[in-house]
């Protein structure tokens, strides 16, 4: 039964909050139970940001992820150091290898390395690095469909940013390709 508990983490401006919101939004569109809980503590003032996302078939109890994340998506090194330990044994770790030189230190977790920033720059917009990671996550877990994420993105962007839909979709595809290999 679907019960994903996802941590999205990075520094402010990398779009980790949006990444989490899109997963939640898409889950809601698909009729799943979802929750999104941001960090808003003093650490945010220091520039790091993270959110906890739940997508489940069952009503969601606690929206808090303590040490039971099924997936962690880390966009920078401090996030890897902080959240690697919070993944369950057998869980998945998505690492932005453009900014993180280190490898995963746990052997009971499967790590996937996605050069998100390089791909984003290649696509012509460094700001879509989060969407590359999101595409990899979706391909890997199938938590929600790319279709539903696109619907969610359309809502979030509105008319004024409609022209950015294509590059975001392309970024997700490129992320997915990394997983497909």
């Amino acid at each position: 039964m679907l019960n994903e508990r996802v941590i999205c983490a990075g520094f402010g401006g990398q779009g980790v909050m949006l990444m989490g919101q899109l997963i939640s939004y898409a889950g809601m569109i698909e009729g799943k139970e979802v929750s999104w809980l941001p960090s808003y503590g003093p650490e945010m003032r220091g520039g790091t940001a993270n959110c906890s996302v739940m997508v489940s078939e069952r009503p969601i109890g606690s929206p808090v992820i303590t040490d039971d994340a099924t997936v962690a998506i880390v966009m920078n090194l401090p996030s890897l150091d902080k959240f690697e330990r919070d993944i369950i044994s057998g869980g998945k770790l998505l690492i932005n290898s453009s900014l993180i030189d280190k490898k995963a230190s746990r052997s009971d977790v499967t790590a996937y390395y996605v050069p998100a920033n390089e791909i984003a720059v290649d696509l012509g917009n460094p700001r879509v690095a989060n969407m590359v990671m999101l595409g990899a996550f979706l391909e890997l877990t199938k938590t929600v469909s790319v279709d539903a994420v696109m619907k969610a993105l359309k809502k979030v962007f509105g008319d004024s940013k409609a022209h950015l839909m294509a590059i975001n979709e392309e970024a997700m595809n490129r992320g997915a390709e990394i997983i497909k290999g």
């Binding site: 939640s24 808003y40 109890g61 929206p63 808090v64 303590t66």
Partner: protein
């Protein structure tokens, strides 16, 4: 209506506007800032008023004024800000005016921190200000419940002519969940606000709104009248959820987001052969004392789980009235209890793992 994904603080604002709130006065404080921000954007669209006051004290007195004029009015803040509003709240309760106050609780005492807490339990249920008064206090556990209760909060405030408090912790304010804004029919028959100071137009005697009564006999009469009102609230407004009480070895009492963490622990404990029930107060005042009559007689212990150092436990002891031993597990200062922590405490109470 279709579901929307919204942040708790914004959902409170949307639900309040839907419930007919036309005036909002507040002063910024984390972790509730998205609520006034939302109101500043949305109130003008419905012909309402948003005003950022110069202080919490000013904001609550603006609420006092607008409520006196018969308007649907709300303010919001977080713990230390709510502490500053207490003078105004007791005046509003004394003058018998309706309003809704939102408290998105953070860790204390003093300025404390900005992370979620439930350490304002005593402040919200014991008055907080001076004199014999009570607030009707709702403590929803998820955003849908909070949105559903907002209409009721405004209606109950008008019906009883009393301030109503909506309590959430930082988590409720900050998190996003799908919400459906349902059409609801008020269960109250709301009387005309013929007491409001809306101008006499020379047609009637002036209405006077006041909380000063220097004649002791008069003031006692007023207090007896207020108590009758509070008795009616105790009779009619109690809300709670009882979950898995049948054959429960231990019954946990928890509210708000803490109850969600507890629920996870209960499911995990069941898999380990330990049956635990939950009493979840939805109104903190009036406290759901009758729910405790549902506890099975061979229950070993009642456990209060709170994001505080133990405040609700006093009300639990009153409700339990010596029938079961009452224990406490809590975290404070913005630390959030884990299902594991709750489970360990339960196992300690039932005498180790099975």
């Amino acid at each position: 209506m279709a579901k929307v994904l919204m942040k708790g603080n914004e959902a409170i604002g949307a639900a309040a506007i839907k419930a007919g709130c036309k005036y909002f006065f507040g002063y910024p404080i984390t972790p509730q800032n998205e609520l006034p921000e939302y109101m500043s954007k949305e109130m003008p669209k419905v012909g309402g008023v948003f005003l950022q006051a110069e202080s919490e004290v000013a904001a609550i007195n603006m609420v006092y004024g607008a409520a006196g004029a018969g308007a649907r009015v709300m303010t919001s803040s977080s713990s230390p800000g709510i502490a500053l509003k207490q003078e105004g709240i007791t005046y509003i309760a004394g003058a018998e005016l309706p309003c809704v106050i939102v408290n998105i609780v953070r860790g204390g005492p003093g300025l404390g921190g900005i992370q979620p807490a439930q350490s304002d339990y005593n402040q919200v249920t014991r008055g907080g200000g001076n004199g014999d008064y009570k607030l009707l206090v709702y403590a929803p556990a998820n955003l849908q419940e909070m949105v559903d209760l907002m209409q009721e909060a405004f209606d109950a405030a008008d019906y009883y002519r009393n301030p109503v408090m909506m309590v959430g912790d930082g988590m409720i304010g900050q998190m996003m969940e799908p919400i459906e804004f349902k059409e609801s029919v008020s269960r109250f028959e709301l009387p005309l606000k013929d007491w409001a100071t809306t101008g006499t137009k020379g047609q009637r005697k002036p209405n006077i709104i006041n909380s000063l009564a220097l004649d002791p006999a008069e003031l006692e009469k007023h207090n007896i009248h207020l108590q009758e009102k509070y008795s009616a609230m105790k009779e009619n407004e109690v809300k709670y959820e009882a979950y898995n009480l049948e054959n429960a070895e231990v019954v946990i009492v928890a509210y708000g987001t803490t109850s969600r963490i507890v629920r996870n622990a209960i499911i995990d404990l069941k898999e380990q052969g330990i049956n635990v029930g939950l009493i979840r107060p939805i109104t903190l005042w009036p406290f759901p004392e009758k729910a405790f009559d549902l506890i099975p007689s061979d229950c070993k212990a009642v456990l209060s789980v709170e994001m505080s150092m133990g405040q609700m436990i006093d009300d639990i002891k009153i409700a339990v009235n010596g029938r079961y031993p009452v224990h406490f597990y809590g975290r404070s200062g913005g630390m959030i209890p884990t299902p594991e922590g709750v489970m360990n405490k339960v196992k300690e109470l039932v005498g180790g793992a099975k």
